[in-house]
Amino acid sequence: MAQVSEPKLRDFHQAKWDEPLIFELHQPGERGVVVPKTEPEIEAEIGDGFTALPENMLRKKEPQLPEVSQARVLRHYLRLSQETLGSDFNVEIGQGTCTMKYIPKVNEFLVRNPKLTELHPYQDESTVQGMLAAIYHLDLAMREISGMDYFSFQPSGGTQALFAMASIVRAKHGATGEGEKRDEIITTMFSHPSQAATAVVKGYKIITLKPDEDGYPRLEDLKKVVSDRTAGFVVANPEDTGIYNPRIKEFTDIVHKAGGICYYDQANANGLLGITRAKEAGFDMCFFNLHKTFAAPHMCGGPATGALGVKDELKQFLPGPIVECDGEKYRLNHQLASSIGKVRSFHGVPQTVLRAYAWIRSLGAEGLKEVAKIAVLNNNYLYHKVKEIRGASAPYVNGGRLEQVRYSWEQMTEETGVTTEDVQRRMTDFGHHYWTSHHPYVVPQPFTLEPTESYSKEDLDEYIAALTQISKEAYEEPEKVQNAPYRSVIHKIEEEDFLDNPDKWAVTWRAFLKKHNWKEGKVKSE
């Protein structure tokens, strides 16, 4: 049987439909659906339904929505879907920190079951025992994975989990009368922006530990900043660099000693499943992104779940309700003594909870560990290969990476002028997604790759081949990279001024129509 041996440089072109905006498809009189109607008997009895309405509340001018037939609406959005590169379609290793793994199709069929989709969150407990059971058993599994004692699945995303944890920190210190005093939260440089940002929302000052030359946060720095003003310490480990801080237990000990609470950003725990746990590292709380490590899809950016786990003593602060079981019946416990209150309506995003539950059930304990091992193997293979590409490097310690790495094109940019954004656009031409970095922008010309367990060696080789090709192009014909893409839905975006100039930006079609008369590529001069 044949087998591709040469890494493939794909002769790719993305679907390009040249599709107008939905508003441009407006045809007065057309319609996409008819909603269920009022029975004539009701109409006879009640009239048009508007008589009771105060005149000032009746809408006078109908919303200027487009009128489009069903087939045309469908065609429009289907075309847009083809113009979107879902992770099902590509070797999605370019979105580091996001654990873009295989989304099992069977789980998607499970969550389309009307026995889930048609449940109302206020149904009586007796009518949702199946769903409560799934939530409860996911809680049990999460406890095993983390060593924590209780989980809430209410936060709908990692950011909201971080916010909930910052809220718990505040509530906890508030409960002991230290709320005012403890006004600082310590984090590290290579942590996700939401760690600091959510703590700021909760009124905290942020102290950031800088990495040493090997990329590790310094214990000495921590010692310097920790004090009785320390409310908490939040960190990811490994951080965006993929570097695991082996002294983490010393960090949490120091913070604890100062009276602070340690919370662990495990949004991405892909390299750690069954390997090491939040508990042993001394954390009081942690969260997992079910849409990352636990194979729930990213859905263009949510809805999602940040599964929030706490040690026993923090249970009372959890956002409620949580699911409990008396061995037979499942119930919702709304009576958490010092709950921070809800962070997301109802029970979070139960579809995603069910997906994570199904994923764990399809792997078991050994399977989860296998995930971590292959994720780390894949990453180290990629790491090894990327460093060999001309102009690319992986700043900080040599080796010692777990599931991801933040790389740099610093050298290539210096030598050719081609930036990481140029590479990003050019990667599109080979059918690949590629991401640079979010704040803080410490690594110059960064790109962050995380191959997860889902990709084969052949997949990785294909991605590497594309990076290698682009590096070659950068050194030989840099404009080719700089003017990319050529095989995407659109060409290079030009006037960034459209995004930052209040006179030009247009967040909606109506704003656009007011500001521009842009046809055939001509922009109305202001």
């Binding site: 993305q14 905006l21 939905i22 508003f23 319609r31 996409g32 008819v34 109607k37 029975e39 009895e45 309405l53 000032n56 009746l58 006078k60 999605e92 873009m100 793994k101 009307p114 889930l116 449940l119 025992q129 059971a133 599994a141 060593g147 909201q160 809220s167 505040r170 939401s194 940002a197 237990k249 069954g274 859905m299 949510g302 209150g341 809800k342 997301r344 309506s345 139960p350 199904a358 078991g364 304990a365 050994e366 989860l368 990003q424 059918g431 704040h439 889902s454 060696k457 060409h491 290079k492 975006i493 960034e496 459209f498 995004l499 967040v507 909606t508 109506r510 704003a511 842009w518 001509k522």
Partner: protein, 476 residues
Amino acid sequence: MAIEKQIAHPYIPNTVPEVQEEMLREIGAESIEELFEGIPESLRFRGKMDLPQPLTEYRLRQHVETLLNKNKSCNETVSFLGAGCWQHFVPAVCDEINQRSEFLTAYAGEPYEDFGRYQALFEYQSLVAELVDMDVVNVPTFDWAQAAATSLRMACRMTERNEVLLPKTIDPDKYSMIKNYCSPEINCTLVNYDGISGQIDMDDLEEKISTKTAAVYFENPSFLGFIEEKGSAISELAHQFGAISVVGVDPSSLGVLEPPSHYGADIVCGELQPLGMHMNYGGGQAGFIATRDEEKFIKEYPSRLFGIVPTVKGEYGFGDVAYERTSFHDRVNGKESVGTQTALWGITAGVYLSLLGPHGMRELGQTIMQKSQYAMKRLSMIEGVTASRFNSTNFKEFVVDFNGTGKKVEDIHQALREKDIFGGKDLSSTFPELGQCGLYCITEIHTKDDIDRLVKEIESCTKKKSQGKDDKHGAS
């Protein structure tokens, strides 16, 4: 170690030993174990996680379906639950689009390879903008509560004040979320409502508002289902004090109700779930925020805002407007925080609005008004039952007052459940001042039969039981 004998797990291609060896050779490592050397032994978990044995796909499916079969869903019964999550007609096209592999599995792509996602979300923003008649709408937030909380924080930043007023009829759960999101820096104060009409008590509002007030927040329809009629007066009052008028809205009403921007709202927020999302046990929620197209508003959004930008060939391109606001750009000084929100529901809401168009939205609103008025009328004919408890006009939801029946809502609902009817949300613990009341919801999906059945069963269970009661206690 492979999961079953030497066989690769379907989800993990490189379980194959030969491939592993080849990769390790490349890396120059002896074993995978070696790659974990950076984690000190003291932190290594050497136990075995206590998890059930793995299931093959078929058995997994059987197992989960068996679990789910223990649920009783709202389309196997007739449900009158609302209270922030509503059973509406979801067009099949909405499901088709949000189940598309491309949209389902895309994430943080760039406007090039994820062009379709950008266009779809830009269209979503634009469509909601028409509905609320404002020029700026964000990429969706977690839910209405989050949208409201963020709207209030935006107002505080804009006014550099830290007090906000909200109506006492607000959903207590939503309020708990807002309060937590605002604390410790912002003070939330509740404004009383009129006992007869439910409307905001203007006297109390006037008393509580001041030049420290950053925002006045109210909802239309209110949580208790009635339409807040004095929107203009409230907004004017807010403006008089230099405060911002923030209005939360159920968009399914906007085909027939005036959008808040027409009665003075500066910031409009609300819940997208009615626009094409299944209830999903509460997983269908997503929030939106809308404002005028003024720099001072735009700069305060924490959310992503997709804007149009041309390409070198004059194509429509899309990008992030004023990205520097976001915490992605500056994690300490950015506006609040942003992360994974509810983008797929935004796209879906766009599909929904494209399908319904202006006529569909109008018919939707009208149908809901007609049917809910019919239900109130019929319910009120039951002895001891009043619907609505308040004498304002309602949209979609209304408070059914059972106090006159001498029954507990809880018991009535238990009786209804036995007839495969889910009664509305029991308000007796969250709004104790109302006594035995329930918040009932009627949407376009309800039929006359559904309503008549409800009326009949309430009639019979309130009657029957009071007879039982009479029997026990003798004649009263």
